[in-house]
Amino acid sequence: MRFTNSLLAAALASALSTAALAQGALVRIDGSSTVYPVTEAVAEEFQKAEKGRIKVTVGISGTGGGFKKFCRGETDISGASRPILKQEMEDCAKAGITYYELPVAFDALTVVVNPKNTWLDRGITVEQLKRMWEPGAQGKVMRWNQIDPAWPDQPLKLFGAGADSGTFDYFTEAIVGKSKSSRGDFTASEDDNVLVQGVQRDVNALGFFGYAYYAENKDKLKSVPIIEKAGKPAVRPDMATVLDGSYQPLSRPIFIYVSAKGYERDEVKKFVEYYLTHGAKLAQEVKYVPLPPKAYALNREHLAKGKKGTVFGGVSEVGVRIDDLLAREAKL
């Protein structure tokens, strides 16, 4: 009995004393579901390369939810599908959290229709999309020929991302001109697979979501070429058109934010280095558009010189081309 007791006491004591040790080689990541596939791929390969010496956890709380945890100091790295906003910058500043902003890839929001849809093969203008999606269209614009008389006299069925997602924020900002401003009478889902199925089943449907979902369902859906302004060419989303900046305004950079305090730890440093080295290849594998090598070099420079903070000033913007992004990052 005494032996068991001392054993238990020893076990308890050791459990308590090593509480801090368990956190030792752990990199904690959370944030956007859009950035998740890239980070997950990097985390998977990184842990294989490190042979289990460093552990990485990746959660999905959304861009906003991720920043909340990040600014409380609960995570080392936060994924974001938009730049950090003013309110979030203030929260971080209050908690004394400083950070490096590292763009890691580009995503293309893709407008999709049923493969049997022929009338959008030559593209749709941003202005037409706006007339389709703006709040004023609710209950009024219900048929395709109301947008363009040349289009069929058929009901217009819209599918889109749910109001809590960064994708919805970005699409409304880019198309309607104001974030979160949209008609309400469309089929909304946080699960993009629901949208894929909806558009796949209905000739008269139109939907939008991240490029990766289109890329995996190319046999069931057709992407719509986007005409930024009258007179400009119609551009389909793919790696090339995002890279050269011609797919506008629906391509957007995605970021990771690395806590400066976390970056002082060896395991976080190693992980970020691995991200910058292998991120481009892995992003492409999960159907994102990698940045040119110069971008990763700039990221490294910021880290080496300790250049913290954001280049966006807390404002969400649309239509940032890769060149713009690099020019801005260079100024930091």
Partner: protein, 309 residues
């Protein structure tokens, strides 16, 4: 019409009528059961067929991966298993003690009544509310972190009302003469509880515990609220080590994921191959629940055999 029968024909007529109603009710019952069972079977078979290709031994021994064919549920099932251990370790002693106290010791007054009503109501509170409570209390106020112990405690809270109610029901089913007999020969209250009440109510308590655990194993909402992680490619530290003191409780503090979260993540992937993974994980989760229920039935049967009143 009068039910006072006058002739044998009338009596036979009445009997036939009653029998027809009997048959009608049996048919109704069978149809009701059939609808429930057919729905479950259709859903389950559909899931089984979708996931069949992935139900291989490697599926249990591999970590999640971005490649569907290499992805497995190792961290998820280990996480679920560990969380269930914590849940049982907390909910059973607390729930059973509370149930025994309320039945055997508590004075019959309005305080006890209020407690009883509250416990019954707690059983109906949506699980997300427990998740929010746990986020505020366990994760932030107590600083337990987003760990196995937090998840276990949260689910323990969730099933506590079920365990308490089951314990009380089981105790009430014990004939009063057992208790009276024990007191008559001079046993104290504790002796009565220890030697009679607990052993005799054990089958019922166990059933309640396992029904509660079956509910907890499939819970997603409260676990997501407290911040279970989506991608984990490592296991918590082992509870037994080669060096002194041989036992370690580090796993309690480890980050984790559980089966329902792994499924949820896979169903929302763009690549349809992951949907097969989700179906396979779902099938395994159904079998885990079935196995727990089977265990409950077996234990109840075994323990009941030993009871001789």
């Amino acid at each position: 019409m009068s039910y006072v029968a006058q002739t044998p024909e009338q009596i036979r007529g009445l009997i036939a009528k009653a029998k027809r109603r009997d048959v009608l009710f049996v048919a109704l019952g069978v149809i009701a059961l059939g609808i429930g069972f057919a729905t479950f079977l259709a859903l389950f078979l559909d899931m089984l067929l979708d996931g069949w290709g992935r139900l291989r031994p490697e599926f249990f021994t591999q970590f999640p991966s971005r490649r569907a064919a290499q992805a497995g549920i190792l961290s998820a099932w280990v996480g679920t298993f560990l969380v269930m251990i914590v849940t049982a370790a907390v909910a059973v002693p607390l729930g059973v003690s509370a149930g025994i106290y309320l039945e055997e010791y508590a004075p019959k007054n309005w305080v006890t009544d209020v407690i009883e009503i509250n416990i019954t109501n707690l059983a109906g509170v949506p699980s997300i509310v427990y998740g929010l409570l746990a986020l505020g209390l366990f994760v932030y106020a107590f600083g337990l972190g987003q760990s196995v112990q937090t998840a276990g405690l949260t689910l323990a809270l969730l099933i506590l009302p079920v365990v308490i109610v089951a314990t009380r029901e089981a105790i009430r089913a014990i004939p009063a003469m057992i208790r009276e007999g024990a007191y008559a020969v001079g046993a104290t209250r504790w002796q009565t509880v220890k030697d009679h009440i607990i052993p005799y109510s054990m089958p019922g308590i166990l059933t309640g515990v396992i029904i509660g655990m079956s509910r907890a194993i499939g819970e997603t909402a409260p676990i997501i609220t407290i911040g279970a992680l989506t991608f984990i490619a490592f296991l918590p530290p082992a509870p037994v080590g080669a060096e002194f003191p041989f036992l370690s409780f580090e796993w309690l503090k480890a980050p984790f994921t559980v089966m329902p979260i792994q499924m949820f993540n896979w169903t929302s992937r763009p690549d349809p191959a992951f949907h097969a993974n989700a179906a396979a994980a779902g099938t395994i989760l159904v079998f885990m629940t079935l196995a727990m229920n089977g265990l409950a039935i077996w234990l109840r049967y075994r323990l009941r055999k030993n009871i001789k009143w």
